[in-house]
């Protein structure tokens, strides 16, 4: 019973905050967080609704292990319909606010309607209040955070906030919490801003006490922590190097999407890698990386805290960027770097700071800049459009200026704020958008890692690595090594990863634990915390149920089999270098087998039998 068994419903139109019991029947089927909130969303909104209308809802949801002593048990997710993709959106974040929300006594908050004037929610245990946000609307997340901390004179309040980018309608805006942790993808921040909700401020002092079997929970979580500590990846690799260790790996295997995916290897990768972040720089003798950092309750601590070279052009006369802040993760370094052809580590770190400060998803932002650079290269975009900026591949100045313009919604930033798909359509080259369902790709080229092509094409929130991370198997050999250049067995592999991840995303735990844990390690922790008799099998089944529920939402929203595809470039233009040289992604070999493995019709819809089996 690590659920608090209650949710807060905030009607922004009416200005009301009302307590409701959590639907425990649904919790037994959908666990919490991603699964349970998706169930609420499916029940409460029409999937065809305009994502930015008051009729869309936005849910902030914790899992049953959020706020407990389980390792990494601090996660929360933001669930809504995405304005970027038109599909279901669920973006997961760490930091501390998820645990704080749970400790204030709430499993989730459902926001509905739209406030007439900007507001923020102040939530202190049972006390919930909508407050005028006129003083912080138009301010960056960092400025708003400082204002609210000063106002409440409480260093322990936790804040999730949207930036100026979201206020200006940037379609890939994030909800940023604790200054540099983000529910980053699919424009969940854009939806929040469309509701005139600037921030959620939380203080919780109740704790999470109602664990089903405290002794078993203590034992299961202690055993889990020991496993993570002894595992070479979660115990040593991630804390020391972060996710950025992958920069040289993925480049070496020839799966590094480069220059808007024209190439699969980036000659500058080593200059922006985890190894480069450790090298002392000439100006002050300090490396980019200051320290690693952990989210609530995390014993892995993969986070990066960095500084920018004090002599770098980006921060001259800008003291606000001279301190240490959230540094580059692999995905951000790839999108801001390889995909734009920029190998200036400090320019990337600066662009990343701006993405944190004003809440832009760095993957979508970087990929959109990359698409703009290709359009510029072809002459479809000129300096007349860009306000004089030479938008060339490799230009650090173009990248960092673009970040500033999207953050504030000025000039060419308004075009870049549309995302890659709409930008490429606007300038007459829709094929140059490297997206699935309108969402930009992450950092693995599916010509060099075949399973990821299928994972991207079928991801319920558009191109995404975190919906089915087969890289783990295809490159790193976890749990078993498979050949990245072969399609054999990939449909089943993708399904298995998707279902397991959906379950983990619904617990309150971080998906990075799965480098050391399987569901066999997670289920005993969930079971000791909650009623329901959870086993690895029932969790996997819940994951499959959640996947199918999301799929059904998307079908009802108007998406179809035609959206389960990849850009032509990845299906027709062969990789030019590396092990995958001469290869395209062979999605056509995998997709029908995947539908069959899922128990879907050849058109990609769950059959009645599948729906019945999963209790949908």
């Amino acid at each position: 019973m690590a659920w608090q068994r209650r949710l807060l419903r905030v009607n922004l139109t009416a200005g009301t905050c009302v307590e409701e019991p959590l639907n425990m029947e649904w919790a037994m089927k959908y666990i919490g967080q991603r699964g349970l909130a998706t169930k609420y969303l499916c029940e409460e909104i029409d999937p065809k609704v305009d994502a930015l209308s008051p009729d869309n809802k936005l849910i902030m949801a914790t899992g049953p292990l959020t706020g407990t002593m389980a390792a990494t048990g601090g996660r929360y997710s933001v669930i809504t319909k995405s304005p970027l993709t038109g599909a279901v959106a669920c973006s997961n974040s760490g930091g501390f606010i998820g645990a704080e929300l749970k400790q204030a006594g709430w499993d989730m908050i459902i926001f509905e309607g739209r406030a007439a004037e900007p507001v923020y929610l102040y939530l202190e245990n049972d006390q919930a209040e909508l407050c005028p946000a006129g003083d912080i609307w138009g301010k960056s997340i960092w400025e708003a955070d400082e204002y609210l901390h000063t106002k409440y004179q409480d260093p322990l309040i936790r804040i999730a906030c949207v930036g100026r980018a979201a206020e200006q309608g940037c379609l890939y805006s994030a909800v940023v919490n604790d200054l540099h942790r983000a529910a980053g993808r699919s424009g969940v921040g854009t939806v929040m801003a469309s509701k005139h909700l600037k921030a959620v401020v939380v203080r919780g002092t109740k704790g999470v006490g109602n664990v089903r079997d405290p002794k078993a929970f203590f034992q299961a979580t202690a055993a889990g922590k020991k496993t993570l500590a002894e595992n070479a990846v979660t115990g040593q690799g991630l804390p020391a190097m972060g996710t950025q260790v992958l920069m040289n790996v993925i480049n070496e295997v020839g799966a590094m999407p480069t220059r808007n995916m024209r190439d699969v290897q980036f000659e500058g990768a080593h200059r922006i890698s985890a190894e480069a972040m450790l090298e002392p720089r000439e100006s002050d003798g300090k490396p980019n990386l200051v320290t690693n950092a952990a989210c609530f309750g995390c014993t892995i601590a993969c986070g990066r805290i960095s500084t920018i070279d004090p002599q770098h052009y980006t921060i001259q006369n800008k003291p606000e960027y001279m301190h240490a802040s959230g540094g580059l993760e692999y995905e951000a370094a790839w999108a801001l770097g390889c995909d734009t052809g920029v190998d200036d580590l400090d320019a990337l770190t600066y662009a990343n700071f701006v993405c944190n400060e004003d809440g832009m998803d760095p993957i979508s932002f970087g990929s959109t800049v990359a698409a703009a650079m290709e359009l510029f290269d072809l002459g479809a975009i000129t300096t007349e459009h860009t306000g004089g900026i030479e938008f060339r591949f490799g230009s650090a100045e173009a990248l960092t200026k673009a970040a500033e313009l999207v953050a504030t919604g000025e000039g060419f930033g308004r075009d870049l704020a549309l995302g890659s798909k709409r930008l490429c359509e606007k300038y007459g080259h829709p094929d140059l958008s490297m997206t699935v369902k309108g969402q930009e790709f992450p950092a693995y080229d599916p010509r060099g890692i075949q399973g990821m092509g299928l994972a991207y094409a079928t991801s319920n929130r558009g191109a995404c690595h975190l919906r089915g991370y087969t890289v783990s198997s295809e490159i790193m050999g976890v749990p078993v090594k498979t050949d990245p250049l072969s399609t054999e067995g990939k449909p089943e592999l993708v399904k298995a990863f998707q279902d397991a991840t959906a379950a983990v995303d619904s617990t309150g735990l971080c998906v990075f634990t799965t480098f050391g844990w399987t569901l066999e390690d997670i289920a005993p922790q969930v079971d000791a915390a909650c009623e329901g008799g959870w086993t690895s099998e029932s969790m996997l089944e819940a994951g499959e149920r959640i996947w199918n529920l999301e799929r059904q939402f998307n079908l009802d929203a108007g998406l179809s089999k035609a959206d389960d595809t990849l850009p032509k470039r990845l299906l027709k233009d062969a990789a030019k270098t590396g092990p995958a040289k001469g290869m395209v992604n062979r999605l056509d070999e995998m997709l029908p087998l995947y539908y069959a493995a899922r128990g879907w019709t050849p058109e990609g819809a769950p059959t009645d039998e599948t729906r019945q089996r999963l209790g949908l």
């Binding site: 595992n231 690799g237 260790v245 040289n248 295997v253 080593h270 985890a274 190894e275 690595h465 490159i475």
Partner: protein
């Protein structure tokens, strides 16, 4: 024959000091195996987890075989993961 050796992450400490950005060109005897190269640079076999030659994965059972050709690129990592 000459090959290129790349050691990354925690394996970087086994690189000779002349290596630049984790990379060094080395001379190996014809017929040498991956394990022999590891031993020469005092890289404990248990630490080298992900081993690639020209970007292709070297299966554990191939690591005692003479599989190098001149100009090959041998790259190695400890267990790694990311996201």
């Amino acid at each position: 024959m000459k090959i290129t050796l790349k050691l990354y992450a925690s394996l970087a400490r086994y690189l000779p000091p002349e290596a630049v950005r984790n990379v060094i060109e080395i001379e190996i005897p014809d017929g040498a195996s991956v394990h022999e190269v590891l031993d020469r640079y005092h890289v404990p076999r248990g630490e080298a987890h992900l081993i690639l030659i020209n970007g292709l994965y070297v299966e554990p059972e191939q690591r005692d075989e003479a599989i190098f050709r001149a100009g090959d690129v041998l790259a190695m990592w400890p267990p790694v993961a990311g996201g």
